[in-house]
Subunit: 272 residues, 2 copies
């Protein structure tokens, strides 16, 4: 059965979006649609142009017998900035204030369209960086880590504070929490991370950076390398930062519980 160009374009778009970062051979598409490779090539040119024009991302072509095409996620910088500005105003709402100066943010990372957009913004910055694994800390970092992982199509490993019988043998390290100066433990299942992996650390919130620094130490135990650190929100209200190289989407500059003031601005993602 032959497929029309319009049908091929729709199905190929769906297929490429569902398999970002994966090399798909022209032969695969040619067989899928009983079409000539020359037609598939033309289809891919149209898709690439539309993806780039609409800020969906791009297609990169690998020539040769083992070659094919790969979808890399992207976003237009003005679209990313507009969304970050929108999130700033959402976060600055005084109803988010909790006793102790904490902010309620669970709902933001609970909505698929929102968490996926944040994930896409982060993933777009690493689409061509050969990231192999996303690492995060349980529990609050998990939704965001998966959102990023979906767009880079790489697995997620979850660091925990406690040992679970369902995780098998683990590697654990002690680290100093930056804010409270307490010694804490983090554990990672030995099976979950292959030695030498290139890892992107993603978390929802960073204050002094003790947790993130702990994850970096854990990477060393697995002989893994660091592709980067990205947090959704960084808090600026600290004396000393334990981590200096990181990307943040949003910066929390002041939380005044008494006067109900939350000051939020763009993180360093926007200018990088």
């Amino acid at each position: 059965m032959k497929f029309k160009r319009s049908e091929r374009l729709i199905d190929m778009t769906n297929y490429l979006l569902a398999h970002p970062g994966r090399l798909v051979s022209l032969t695969f598409f040619a067989e899928r649609y009983s079409s000539a490779k020359s037609s598939i090539s033309e289809d891919l040119t149209i898709i690439k142009e539309t993806f780039e024009q609409r800020g969906i991302g791009t297609l990169t072509t690998v020539p040769g017998a083992a070659g094919g095409v790969k979808y890399l996620v992207g976003i237009k910088s003005d679209e990313a900035t507009a969304f970050i500005d929108h999130l700033c105003s959402v976060i600055a709402s005084p109803e988010r204030l909790l006793p102790g100066g904490y902010l309620y943010m669970t709902d933001i990372l609970g909505h698929p369209e929102t968490v996926n957009m944040i994930g896409r913004i982060i993933a777009a910055a690493y689409a061509d960086k050969q990231v192999e694994v996303i690492m995060t800390m349980a529990t609050k970092g998990i939704p965001l880590a998966y959102a990023v992982a979906n767009y880079l199509n790489v697995p997620v490993v979850i660091v925990r504070r406690d040992n679970k019988v369902t995780e098998g043998p683990t590697v654990s390290i002690n680290y100093v929490s930056g804010s409270s100066k307490r010694i804490q433990t983090m554990v990672l299942s030995k099976r979950s991370l292959a030695e030498g992996s290139k890892v992107l650390i993603v978390d929802d919130f960073m204050k002094a950076g003790g947790t993130v620094k702990g994850m970096v130490s854990l990477l060393e135990e697995f002989k893994a390398t660091l592709a980067g650190i990205t947090v959704f929100v960084e808090s600026d209200e600290i004396e000393e930062r334990l981590v200096d190289q990181f990307v943040s989407l949003i910066k929390l500059t002041e939380v005044d519980e008494r006067d109900k003031i939350i000051s939020v601005s763009r993180g360093n993602y926007v200018n990088n």
Copy 2:
């Protein structure tokens, strides 16, 4: 600037896939592409036919001034069954055995393409059921809950075993764990679930069903209604089940630690 049909089809496919379950007006697309509504209608007919033919899902049309088109996720039943059979063979691997007869499954739910396919299989069964919220238990259910939520485009609420200062006021209940018969506590942030919501409970694993039964009790505290219960893996090795109406993708019938035998079969999803 005018758009060609081919460009519209690609961008509309991307847009609809990113906003499942959401009503999109024809005017929105007509303005987005500076095209006549009649052209947009033709485009949508082609997309609908291709989505249905390839098992991507369907488009439903709501007529009238407030109307539009809505993408509902789907999957061909033979594709779902083949994937469940594939997962059965993955889970039955003896290397997954951990001391105490537990199974290591973290890697399966750590891979985006795998967890998304499981999420799509579950979501397809509820695409027209007006689910408003996905509920799961921290931590292991979270990735699967988000995968389902992505395809239904509804928020996730996460039930926890402990109180967190960043969650604000909570509702807590006590429940009896089915296997260990111990009294345990689960808590849910008051803000996270609106009264009267229609909730789909999703979890990675169910033995006697104590945790799931606890979540059902929690729904009553929020005057929420139950849309359904779906678990990735149910264990058949129990004396008494505390929950009787649920859907499972995979059934674990035997785990023999000494002889390293794991018996796995299709869950009740396949025949329903």
